[in-house]
């Protein structure tokens, strides 16, 4: 892997930033009436697909920050998602507020779910991020499994039903197009701004060479834990959205396989490319719907794709470029310009 990664444009575009900010706010605001329209007019099957794509995008982009951009291969994303999903599911089931106050209530619950996910990320990140590459992958996988085992054993917390191995059912549904869209925008814009800021270069530096980054004065532990916590926060939010969309939670759906699905999205889209993750999340959620006939072969095809991709194009579809970057604007290939003394 190359080590010259200096030419990322710091600014997101040529427009002044307040224009972009205003545009984004308007975009989210439009989603509110649009969501009402969707709820009543659109085919529920199609709406379900859109919502699931939105949740997949949040998961893939947040995992990309950890795996692709900071280069810390984590296999525990579904565990953080489970933390958020169960937080939201339990609160929504037992203390739901309906009527006018339901909007601030749900905003609060999703935020809380994200915070719970982030706390889990912090708790897990601080010890495990001392590990490198494959060890980190196994340790995060282990944490994911621990979360799964605990979820199957706990039947109730403080009088509130959690479900145990049978899962939690009949959760009231709050999620609609607006929530998924708004959280998706927040996630993408937040991570985009973070990564393409001056400080964001530290994340890339760690991925390229941790020792060199530390020698250059980057506080590697701080940045790694930061990436982990932010990724886990959005995973928790995505879990909350998923829980109050389907209304059912089963601990089995947050195991290793779920984490791998998200990893496949990040890897196929291009580790480090945010638009690549968005694209891959959308395609890999949409495609199985079109291939109903081969639904049972889905995971076989996924895994073959993963292997072939690694053999043929290990950097993923977009590599680490964004969708509209031309090749010239992208990172130049590593060239040894400094002669050894």
């Amino acid at each position: 892997m190359g080590n010259a990664d200096a030419d990322h444009p710091v600014r997101a575009g040529r427009l002044p930033s307040w224009v972009i900010n205003l545009f984004l706010i308007v975009l989210v605001a439009i989603a509110w009436p649009l969501s009402r329209l969707f709820d009543s007019q659109i085919d529920p099957y199609f709406l379900d697909l859109i919502i699931r794509i939105g949740i997949a995008i949040i998961l893939a982009v947040s995992l990309n920050l950890i795996n692709g951009i900071t280069g810390q291969f984590s296999l525990g994303h579904a565990g953080f998602m489970a933390m958020g999903a169960y937080t939201c599911g339990v609160i929504a089931k037992h203390h739901a507020i309906t009527g006018g106050a339901s909007v601030p209530f749900f905003l609060g619950v999703t935020l809380l779910s994200g915070v719970v996910g982030a706390l889990a990320g912090l708790l897990i990140g601080i010890p495990t991020l001392r590990l490198r590459g494959d060890y980190l992958a196994i340790a995060t996988l282990g944490f994911g499994e621990i979360i799964y085992v605990v979820l199957t054993k706990i039947r109730s917390i403080g009088g509130c039903e959690v479900g145990g191995a049978a899962g939690l059912h009949d959760i009231p549904t709050f999620t609609n197009f607006f929530w998924v869209f708004a959280w998706g925008m927040i996630c993408i814009v937040f991570i985009w701004r973070l990564v393409y800021s001056a400080k964001g270069k530290a994340f890339y530096a760690i991925r390229e060479d941790e020792i060199a980054a530390a020698a250059m004065g980057v506080d590697t532990t701080f940045y790694k834990v930061t990436a982990f916590v932010i990724g886990a926060f959005f995973a928790g939010v995505a879990g909350a959205l998923a829980a109050t969309w389907s209304g059912n939670l089963a601990p089995g759906s947050f195991r290793f396989m779920r984490s791998v699905e998200i990893v496949v999205m990040v890897v196929l889209g291009g580790s480090g490319s945010i638009t690549g993750s968005i694209l891959a999340a959308a395609v890999l959620t949409w495609l199985p719907e079109q291939l109903r006939a081969v639904e049972q072969w889905r995971m076989v095809i996924y895994s073959l794709l993963l292997i072939v991709m690694m053999l043929v194009r290990p950097e993923g579809l977009l590599g680490r470029r964004e969708l509209w970057w031309t090749r010239r604007r992208a990172i130049p290939r590593a060239t040894a310009t400094v002669a050894p003394p």
Partner: protein, 311 residues
């Protein structure tokens, strides 16, 4: 006291199987510095091959011992071939790429095997009972102190112990006394230098994969007879065996055996003696907790050597 002794025996019996799988992890890690994620699924494939062979042999009406040894041999050979194929087509082309690329490929291979065997035309998603080649009965039974309940060792446990000890002897002979074993140790000591000394590293790596896969297959057959055959059985068993390899010190062959036995003991004692029965399910999580603790406090494991990262 009776419970304790019984659980120790059970633990050793489970641990011996973990040790067999852990050997494959540790040997591959030794030569390639790669965590072969698909190793647990090779163990599963061993169980599935044994399942089909046993179903077929049952109809032939051969003596039990012939059946049994043919099943073990068939599974081991099938898995050795599988290990060779995986190494040749998935790992070898990536050998000079960053290690993360190989790791993702390994996860891909693991997923591929798991999902392929869940297909109806291959094996099916539901676990199936292993055909009763031999009936399980108590082979040895003895009393501890004045306890009225006897400690039982089944004939499966006996086969398990005999087989594992025999395999350990064969393995240590191969690794310590043959030329191939010498080459294997050289490659795992220093890859590039070994290649310069005229060792065909490709062949040694292929051999390592085949040897490890055959051991995993034997483990798979033992577990298939003891429990049942499940296309996802490799996931948890593989992870636990990996933890065992790390506890013992990954890259170290005696370490893998020690780690496996320890792992089995910890698990069975936690399940049967230490944890109250309501919480015995948490024993599954304990394995991963052990992994994380060992990685944090002694990443090189019990018998491993500490290798600091050099710039």
């Amino acid at each position: 006291m009776q419970l304790l002794v019984q659980q120790v025996i059970n633990g050793l019996s489970i641990g011996a199987v973990y040790a067999l799988i852990a050997l494959g992890y540790t040997m591959v890690y030794g030569v390639l510095r790669l965590i072969n994620f698909a190793h647990g699924d090779v163990y599963m494939v061993g169980a599935v091959i044994a399942f089909f062979l046993a179903t077929w042999f049952q109809r032939l009406g051969l003596p039990v011992w012939v059946n049994l040894s043919l099943v073990f041999l068939g599974a081991a050979m099938g898995c050795a071939a599988l290990g060779f194929i995986i190494e040749r087509f998935a790992y070898r082309p990536l050998r000079n790429r960053p290690r993360l690329v190989s790791l993702i490929t390994a996860i891909g291979v693991s997923l591929f095997l798991e999902n392929l065997f869940q297909q109806k035309m291959v094996f099916g998603a539901r676990p199936r009972q292993f055909p009763p080649l031999i009936e399980t009965r108590t082979a040895i039974s003895f009393h501890v102190g004045h306890s009225p309940v006897a400690v039982n060792i089944t004939n499966l446990d006996v086969i398990n112990f005999v087989l594992v000890i025999a395999l350990m002897i064969v393995l240590s002979w191969v690794v310590l006394r043959t030329r191939t074993g010498l080459a294997l140790r050289a490659v795992s000591y220093r890859f590039d230098t070994a290649a310069l000394m005229g060792i065909n590293t490709d062949r040694i790596i292929a051999f390592t994969f085949m040897l490890g896969s055959a051991l995993a297959a034997v483990a798979g057959v033992i577990d298939a007879m003891r429990y049942q055959v499940d296309p996802l059985m490799g996931l948890v068993a593989g992870l636990k065996a990996f933890v065992a390899a790390v506890i013992g010190g990954i890259g170290s062959i005696p370490g893998a055996v020690l780690g496996g036995l320890l792992m089995g003991l910890i698990e069975s004692l936690l399940r049967g003696v230490i944890l109250p029965s309501d919480y015995s399910g948490y024993a599954d999580g304990a394995a991963f907790l052990a992994l994380i603790l060992i990685l944090l406090f002694r990443p090189s494991g019990i018998l491993g050597k500490y290798a600091p990262e050099k710039v």
